[in-house]
């Protein structure tokens, strides 16, 4: 929709099969667990590299639907995340609605000062 309005796009992904089905115009794949499409926490080096690669891919992708696959490895010595990611029991329990309401009220109050 955005492209049809005349704005070129690029899309990160860590789910290659879904992206191959959806076919965004330009995509950049990184084989990290869901929730880390632009890097590991507190690892600015890999975060910068992924963003830099994505900006480069904006210009290097010339064929609609192309997916650039980045070479980064989540953990070279332990690939167990690949077995468990997005399977039953993988999602931690969410806070209850009441707990979330309390946390949100505290957060809002913090900025009201």
């Amino acid at each position: 929709m955005v492209e049809e309005e005349g704005i070129p796009t690029i899309c990160m992904t860590s789910a290659l099969d879904i992206t191959q089905s959806v076919k965004p115009p330009r995509a950049v794949f990184v084989n990290f667990p869901l929730g880390h499409q632009t890097g590991r926490p507190n690892d600015p080096a890999i975060q910068r590299q992924i963003v830099r690669d994505a900006m480069h891919a904006f210009e290097s992708i010339r064929t609609p639907g192309d997916i650039v696959q980045l070479p980064y490895v989540w953990n070279p010595t332990d690939r167990s995340w690949e077995t468990g990611d997005y399977t039953k029991g993988w999602m931690p329990e969410r806070p209850s609605r009441d707990a979330a309401d309390v946390a949100e009220a505290e957060r809002v109050a913090r900025y009201a000062k």
Binding site: M1, M12, V22, P24, T38, G39, P41, F58, A100, Y111
Partner: protein, 155 residues
């Protein structure tokens, strides 16, 4: 080998009517108007990022949050139903590369990072809601800001 997420989605939600994936046969395409180094680029993440006192996201929520481009990390919060958010709460750059894009701007890799950036909560079952509610609003934002290109980070 990349993880096959479509079969895992079927398994994870096996108690529900099977999800009807969007299968697009054609790919839209708009060429870049100018080099990335001269382009104004907008950032959007579906990672459920909120700024300061912005409200959290709800189920089937097609709203979005405007995140100032100079937001401090300690003023960013995460709320999402679809992925474990512990790492993103520690460091939103896992799914919302604001620091990285600011650096690309400072290094002139990109022309300019558009202000604000955007985030929504991507765990929306209804593709119709995304297409008919969320996407047109974002397109309006991008046009108002005269962005040249759009960087999306699904999470």
């Amino acid at each position: 080998m990349p993880v096959a997420y479509i079969p895992r989605t079927r398994e994870l939600y096996s108690d529900f009517t099977p999800y009807r994936w969007i299968v697009n046969e054609t790919v839209p395409w708009t060429p870049l108007k100018k080099p990335i180094a001269e382009s104004k680029i907008a950032l959007m993440s579906s990672g459920g990022i909120m700024y300061r006192d912005q409200p959290r996201f709800h189920h089937e929520d097609a709203s979005y949050r405007r995140i100032p481009k100079h937001a401090a990390r300690e003023d960013l919060y995460v709320w999402h139903f679809g992925y474990p958010t512990a790492d993103a709460e520690k460091d939103p750059n896992c799914v919302f590369p604001l620091d990285g894009m600011r650096e690309m701007e400072a290094e002139h890799v990109i022309g300019e990072l558009s202000d604000p950036a955007f985030s929504f909560m991507g765990g929306i079952y209804s593709a119709r809601k995304v297409r008919d509610e969320l996407a047109p609003n974002i397109v309006d934002e991008l046009k108002r800001a005269h962005v040249d290109a759009f960087y999306l980070v699904p999470a």
